[in-house]
Amino acid sequence: MDVSMLQRTYSDLLTSLFREGILNQQFTELQQLQDENNPGFVFEVVSLFFEDSGRLINELISNFNQQAVDYKKIDAYVHQLKGSSASIGAEKIRSVCQTFREYYDKNDIQGCYNCIQPLNQEFVTFKSKLEALFTLEQQIVAAGGSIPMMRH
């Protein structure tokens, strides 16, 4: 495929991720920490996030399905998820975590429960979009091109 076409697709995808609020400025900060000496930094950290949050969300879902729900444990998981999503710029995930914690603070169990499905959905979306982004990056590099830098 034409390199410039790949680059354009990449730029469009990245722009849309910011525009839709899936990513925030923190993701740009991560990209700025990447350089020739450490070209896989963003991929490494985001991959860790995929693993980490995937696990956390599964724990959340299984905990909510139990007879006696351990809300303290659930809150701890969400706190973790909120922290790591904030660290990588996964804005929508972070935002749902925030909403969850607001319900939790008000002892609104239903409100908490209603966050779980959206949380899972946002995670699935985030993962597929970022995987697409990384695939494009790999294709661009393989075709001898450079990754377009975005200014936000």
Binding site: E29, L30, Q32, L33, G83, S87
Partner: protein, 219 residues
């Protein structure tokens, strides 16, 4: 890779989140610091040489087991940056332990937190923390570390000067040294120059004091 001949500031970064550890490590390395990370306050204290809960200095006959592996050695650091919210030992607890230790109390400590709680911030600052960073920590935050690091170093150098001057005075009184003034001046001048060099962006190799309150001998 070429050996780095420039002495770098060594920062110990403590965070229970692996992602945040990776992030802070990268931020620090990009800012030219040498970095060691720890996943807990307890691990951090072990690396700094405080193994036993009660004692403040490592005791060879201590029965408490150290979980440092054979490869891990004690480190000397110029700054500790730690997350606040950690299980078992919070960043605040770690701060208090460091400040209570005669060997570590002069190491500047910075606390990070994802939550902006004024009472928490005040508590940490009153507990001796130099600064409080709100997470996620950014590259621009790294600039704020430099002043704390330089302050820590200058303090050590100043202590050395006073120590030298006192030693010199003692020698004079004992009639050991005749032309003490020039020696004094030269020593003071050398130390002053070292302090100036510390403030310059180009840091030259520094001689770490061999017996110091702050530094543990690096093997």
């Amino acid at each position: 890779m070429a050996v780095d001949t420039e002495a770098q500031f060594h920062v110990l970064a403590v965070d229970d989140s692996l992602i945040d550890r990776k992030l802070i490590e990268r931020l620090l390395k990009v800012s030219s610091y040498q970095v060691t990370t720890a996943e807990s306050g307890i691990k951090a204290l072990e690396l700094l040489g405080l193994r036993d809960e009660q004692s403040t200095s490592p005791s060879p006959s201590s029965s408490s087991s150290s979980s440092l592996s054979a490869n891990q050695q004690e480190i000397e650091v110029n700054l500790i940056i730690t997350d606040y919210c950690m299980p078992e030992m919070t960043g605040y607890d770690l701060l208090k332990r460091v400040k209570a230790s005669s060997s570590l109390k002069d190491i500047p400590v910075v606390i990070m937190s994802s939550e902006n709680v004024p009472s928490r911030i005040d508590r940490c600052l009153e507990g001796g923390a130099e600064e409080f960073f709100l997470k996620p920590v950014k590259l621009s935050d790294m600039n704020r570390l430099r002043s704390h690091l330089l302050k820590g170093k200058s303090q050590v150098q100043e202590n050395e000067i006073h120590q030298n001057q006192n030693d010199q005075k003692q020698k004079e009184e004992n009639g050991e040294v005749s032309s003490s003034n020039s020696l004094n001046c030269k020593d003071s001048k050398r130390k002053s120059r070292e302090i100036e060099e510390l403030s310059s962006p180009e840091r030259k190799r520094q001689r770490f004091p061999s017996s110091s309150l702050v530094f543990i001998k690096k093997k």
